[in-house]
Subunit: 212 residues, 2 copies
DNA sequence: TAAAATGTACGAACTAGTGCGTATGTCAAG
DNA sequence: CTTGACATACGCACTAGTTCGTACATTTTA
């Protein structure tokens, strides 16, 4: 359906699709899946609504494409962090920093995941590409925990997925619940000093938990 | 607009409104604000669409009413926990347990907050009732932390709002991201043993953090 | 009987999706 | 290297169906 071509053309399907996906991401993350309007996307695009259906078939197809691209962008960062050379505690701190900054830098991704949860992860289930993701993080954490226990710096034998959840929950929440939390407590979570303090807190909390 | 009546009538506006709100809560938490259909709500109600507009004026008005009722239900629980008699560490554990079980028991509330965040907390901002909520929790935590530091059981001088966020993030995430997390890691977060383990983990993490 | 509560039927506006025509590029034959 | 046949890329204008909201009639209660 989507043919791939080299450059030097006026017809540039690659760019057209990217353009559509950029606009669609903005629209869906701002209004949700049901709230996002195909016409609104079409208007902000260089191209027309017809092209959206030409390339993505349907509104849901477009949404799925947006979701998959967001996940694909993510995957690259999680790999090759080279944590096995670092001492366990430091390795974990680097991993936590990375997760923290990742969520902070990708609010679109966070919002899409929130939207997916409202829809019971129905679209994620249909996408194999997305399903077998994140697994590498667990292996990374598992290795760090094992080394830590072996070296005696960590006392507690914790489940890697649980630890990932403890870290991810905090980092994710800061971004996903920014607006309600900010409204209730009148606090701007995107301020640099707040960010640094929070980054230190989740790291210290996880480390001290493992040391107890 | 909304008259209050006793019982023993065929006309029971109180019950009608509650009925509408129940159905609307279900609809909005399942499909989101934009995805929720007024006609679908009307059908599942004992009454008709006309009544929805009679009592709530508009779809947004209905949504706001749903949101406010959800918050009102919550508020009751947070008060009177009588934590000041307990030693600081135990008081904190009780508070964390309460938060944990609260989010677990009120997935509707959690979902509404998620939906609000997608809409930049726009409706919360308009509702005074909601805005000055949750403040009591902060005071409770602040008192516990002070007592803890004074007694020497807590070493770290932490910000109460930060601690609330650390706790709330984990408890909230478990419910809000249940579907995506469950899909990726093939783990059922609602299993009793998992719940107990997680409840213990967040408590231990917070306590050990404060003791370091 | 006045006021509140409720039901029915309908309409205006919106929205996802499409039919059909056009433009742009590819490739092969002459 | 021009020409013609064909495939891909694109846009306008329309449709079928949905969705929020309301006008009007009716019943119930004070």
């Amino acid at each position: 359906m989507a043919a791939k071509r080299e450059n030097g053309r006026k017809n540039d399907p690659q760019r057209t699709q990217e353009d559509i996906l950029d606009v669609a991401t903005e629209e869906f993350t701002t209004h949700g899946l049901a709230g996002g309007r195909v016409d609104a996307i079409a208007e902000k695009t260089r191209t027309s609504k017809r092209m959206i259906y030409y390339y993505f078939g349907s509104k849901e197809g477009l949404y799925l494409a947006v979701l998959e691209r967001a996940y694909r962008k993510i995957r690259t960062l999680e790999e090759d962090l080279q944590l096995s050379n670092l001492p366990p505690e430091q390795a974990l701190r680097v991993l936590i920093s990375t997760t923290f900054e990742h969520d902070e830098a990708n609010p679109d991704f966070v919002r899409l995941v929130s939207i997916e949860n409202i829809h019971h992860a129905a679209h994620m289930l249909r996408s194999e590409a997305i399903r077998d993701l994140n697994v590498s993080v667990i292996e990374t954490i598992a290795a760090i925990l094992e080394r830590g226990v072996a070296a005696g710096v960590f006392v507690r034998k914790a489940d890697p997925i649980d630890i990932h959840m403890l870290i991810s929950a905090f980092c994710f929440f800061r971004v996903s619940n920014r607006y309600t939390f900010g409204t209730i407590f009148r606090r701007d979570l995107s301020e640099p000093e707040t960010m640094e303090r929070h980054k230190g807190m989740i790291a210290d909390a996880v480390i001290s938990y493992l040391k107890t």
